[in-house]
């Protein structure tokens, strides 16, 4: 039930042009320095906010409209759109970004553990690139700070196995690409560096900002139904989600160990084990350490601090309806499972089990949500997804059969 007072407040705010959401129910917003927070365990957490246009870095400018939204017809974006579908950006020329970020699967992959290049297996769930433009820490363990620096690690490494010189050569033998680089960057002299920048510009157009939750937060109170509004109240209070999934992104971009179940593939399928173990090895973990644990050590891979073992970045929640399975190891197939998991206070701390010390967050507690409340919370989570984002599959320029030199 939405309280009439809040309803009126929202209507008034809308009339004034102030977008204020109608916070409803038991979780009481707290105002501080002109911002709204929710208080849990004596701590304040920023309220959810609607998403505006994504930030655009100074060193990779792109065209935007009057409100700051990236333009789709910017030559960089057009080039990036092609490149996102371009399998030349991989080792054997068979894998493109789209291979693992499938537009029909929420720009992610409907597979617990992502595929890799042929002959190899990845070790993590493929994340959606929708709204990646807003993140300041990319990847499940947040190890990259911008799309520009993320793209090369996506085309090389475990994803595409592409080598820089070969990918450069493949692009420069295609006259259409040379033209597109010239149009977007003034020259085709540094195509691979510019390819990452074009891909980033394209991904900045893949934003989901008009979900029912966004519209509701902008003051459009019919955007969520009553169950969803009840779910939102739980999200902000009793269910404690706001402690981590907060602010504009519905993510604090911090790292936590939730005690997720193990991914059995790492124990049951040799190829997955190889993917898993080679990443541990590659991150410089001592073999005695990673042979003892069947679990991904997350942030530890980056910092080698023991207290970071098993920590992962809080996932943003927009667009999630399209991107099952969930979590870094894809162990949950739907949002009901997710909510049940939190209702039990998360899971067993495998770091404790494997290494004898705990890194599990103490923010997760048994929530005692009723079945109806869990349904409401799921309904609210579904409200984070706006329309599907579908782009045209570009007709990629074909390399000439033979290269002619001037």
């Amino acid at each position: 039930m939405i309280s009439t007072a809040l309803r009126l407040l929202a209507v008034a705010a809308m009339a004034l042009g102030l977008a204020l959401p109608a916070w409803a129910g038991t979780a009481k917003p707290v105002q501080k320095d002109g911002k709204t927070y929710f208080e849990i365990d004596g701590e304040l957490f920023p309220a959810l906010e609607p998403l505006g246009p994504p930030p655009i870095p100074k060193d990779n400018p792109q065209g935007v409209d009057a409100d700051g939204w990236p333009l789709k017809n910017d030559p960089k974006v057009k080039l990036g759109h092609f490149l996102f579908f371009e399998p030349a950006l991989s080792g054997d020329g068979s894998v493109s970004c789209q291979t693992c970020h499938v537009q029909g699967a929420g720009w992610a992959l409907n597979s617990a553990i992502s595929r890799s290049y042929p002959g190899q297996s990845h070790w993590r769930n493929s994340q959606s690139v929708v709204n990646a433009a807003y993140m300041s820490k990319l990847f499940w363990d947040g190890h990259t700070a911008s799309l520009e620096t993320q793209a090369p690690s996506a085309a090389k490494g475990l994803a595409g196995n592409g080598k820089q010189d070969m990918m450069t050569a493949r692009l420069t033998v295609v006259p259409e690409y040379v033209e597109m680089f010239e149009a977007a960057f003034g020259s085709a002299n540094n195509p691979i560096h510019d390819a990452w920048r074009a891909l980033s510009a394209f991904q900045r157009t893949l934003t989901s900002t008009d979900s029912p939750v966004d519209r509701y937060l902008r003051g459009e109170e019919d955007a969520l139904d009553e169950a969803q509004v009840r779910g939102m109240d739980l999200f902000n209070g009793k269910a404690r989600c706001i402690m981590c999934h907060n602010g504009k992104l519905a993510s604090d971009e911090k790292f936590y160990n939730l005690g997720l179940p193990r991914q059995p593939l790492f124990s049951n399928i040799a190829k997955n084990q190889i993917g898993f173990r080679s990443q541990n090895y590659g991150a410089g973990l001592p073999e005695e350490m990673f042979r003892k644990t069947k679990s991904d050590l997350g942030l530890y891979h980056r910092t080698h601090n023991h207290e970071d073992a098993g920590l992962f970045r809080t996932q943003p929640l927009r667009f999630i309806e399209y991107t099952p399975p969930y979590y870094h190891n894809g162990v949950m197939d739907d949002l009901f499972e997710v909510v049940e998991f939190y209702n039990q206070g998360g899971g067993e701390d495998y770091i404790l089990k494997d290494f004898g010390y705990s890194t599990k967050t103490d923010r997760l507690k048994e929530l005692n949500l009723s079945d109806d409340e869990m349904d409401d919370l799921v309904a609210f989570l579904e409200g984070f997804s706006g329309p599907e984002i579908l782009v045209q599959i570009p007709l990629l320029p074909k390399p000439p059969e033979r290269v002619s030199t001037k």
């Binding site: 991989s90 080792g91 054997d92 020329g93 068979s94 290049y117 042929p118 002959g119 190899q120 490494g157 475990l158 196995n161 592409g162 080598k163 010189d165 070969m166 450069t168 050569a169 493949r170 420069t172 033998v173 124990s267 049951n268 399928i269 040799a270 190829k271 084990q273 190889i274 173990r277 080679s278 090895y281 590659g282 005695e288 042979r291 003892k292 644990t293 069947k294 494997d354 390399p399 000439p400 059969e401 033979r402 290269v403 002619s404 030199t405 001037k406």
Partner: protein, 381 residues
């Protein structure tokens, strides 16, 4: 080899040492010193058989490439003289090569590796193996992943334990490959037997060919010593292979020359050869003299496979090679008769030894040990 004051390649440091020594002795490509006499292959120490055994499996192991679809033996086929029987080599899936694949027979004695001499030989086979495994156009492998792959093949783990007292990792894999290659030495070579005193080991015709090789045809000026190679770069004017402009081959050429920092790498109309290594115009289109050992088994010939048979090679030399900006003055019409040409070919054939007995089929997919699950330490799977 002449000074390699090269910039922009990752071998700068390696070459720097060589240059210092070589500077004083530097002798352009034209004026050859007195050639060293031809000689039988020297006796060479054989590595630990347990390590060789591993290297052998690694040589045939496709799972040592990114896609798990290329082994050394795919391009260095034992039944084809340990080379690839087409003018131009295949590449990693999705790529093709722009050069002919050289044989790995006797490679332990090579002074420099590759047609363009871009890698130091000197017995450093593991470094070359690292190159072959990681290059985008050969095997595109990530060494760290390869180590973990091999660890999940219990038969290999046992072999590594026995030979090295430890588990497989990239460093050991390339060492083992090098040790295996060290055993790829010609065996029972008629010409060597002849030099060692068995006068009947060469036919009369081959003996006449040998005399021409050292005399009228003057091949020995470049093909000298026991490897029949001076390890120097020369331009003969071998015609450009038009297939290097096929897009997948040309991208390999461009990508590699870009990596080497070759000037004007985007507009190359032919293989720059040693110029890519040395970046001095006088080396454009020169290639390092290959060894002629096992040569009758490794057709087609030259860096780009443009000459299909030994007969065509001899014809080519007899006509004074082809046009080339930096053509070596030693390459000039030889005036050989048909019989002399035949004799020269007979001699070249006497440089091949016995088949070492390796069969690709023995290492086919259905025979190789599979990946298996690894046990976790301290807990059940």
């Amino acid at each position: 080899m002449t000074a390699r004051g090269t910039t922009g390649t990752r071998w700068v440091l390696v070459w720097a040492g060589v240059s210092l020594v070589a500077l004083g002795l530097s002798m352009g490509t034209a004026a050859a010193a007195e050639p060293r006499p031809l000689a039988p292959l020297p006796k060479a120490e054989m590595p630990d058989p347990a390590k060789v055994e591993i290297g052998k499996y690694m040589f045939f192991e496709k799972r040592l490439s990114g896609d798990g679809d290329r082994s050394c033996a795919d391009c260095h086929i034992p039944e084809k003289g340990w080379a690839f029987p087409e003018p131009l080599s295949i590449g990693y899936p999705g790529t093709l090569h722009y050069r002919n694949a050289k044989t790995v027979m006797n490679v332990r004695f090579a002074k420099y590796f590759y047609w363009d001499g871009r890698l130091d030989g000197g017995n450093d086979l593991p470094t070359q193996a690292r190159d072959a495994m990681t290059d985008s156009h050969f095997m595109a492998a990530d060494g760290r992943i390869m180590g973990q792959r091999m660890k999940q093949i219990p038969e290999y783990v046992k072999m590594f334990k026995k030979a090295y007292g430890g588990e497989p990792h990239f460093g050991l894999i390339i060492k083992a490959l090098g040790d295996f290659e060290k055993t790829l030495v010609s065996k029972n070579v008629p010409f060597d037997n002849y030099l060692k005193g068995n006068k009947g080991a060469l036919s009369a015709e081959a003996k006449e060919g040998l005399a021409l090789f050292e005399g009228k045809a003057n091949c020995i000026q470049c093909h000298d010593g026991f490897m029949l190679s001076d390890g120097e770069a020369h331009a003969l004017g071998v015609p450009v292979n038009p297939d290097i402009f096929e897009v997948k081959r040309y991208t390999t050429l461009r990508s590699q020359q870009m990596f080497l920092g070759t000037p004007n790498y985007r507009n190359l109309k032919s293989d720059p050869g040693f110029f890519g290594t040395e970046k001095n115009n006088k080396y454009f289109g020169t290639f390092v003299t290959p060894s002629l050992r096992e040569v009758s088994k490794t057709a087609p010939y030259m860096h780009n496979g443009m000459l299909p048979t030994l007969e065509s090679v001899v014809d080519f030399y007899n006509e004074g090679g082809g046009p080339a900006v930096n053509q070596d003055p030693l390459i000039k019409p030889l005036g050989l008769t048909a019989a002399e040409k035949g004799a020269l070919v007979e001699f070249l054939k006497s440089l091949a030894g016995d088949d070492l007995g390796y069969r690709t089929a023995d290492y086919s997919e259905d025979k190789r040990p599979p990946y298996e699950l690894l046990k976790w330490v301290g807990q059940d799977n």
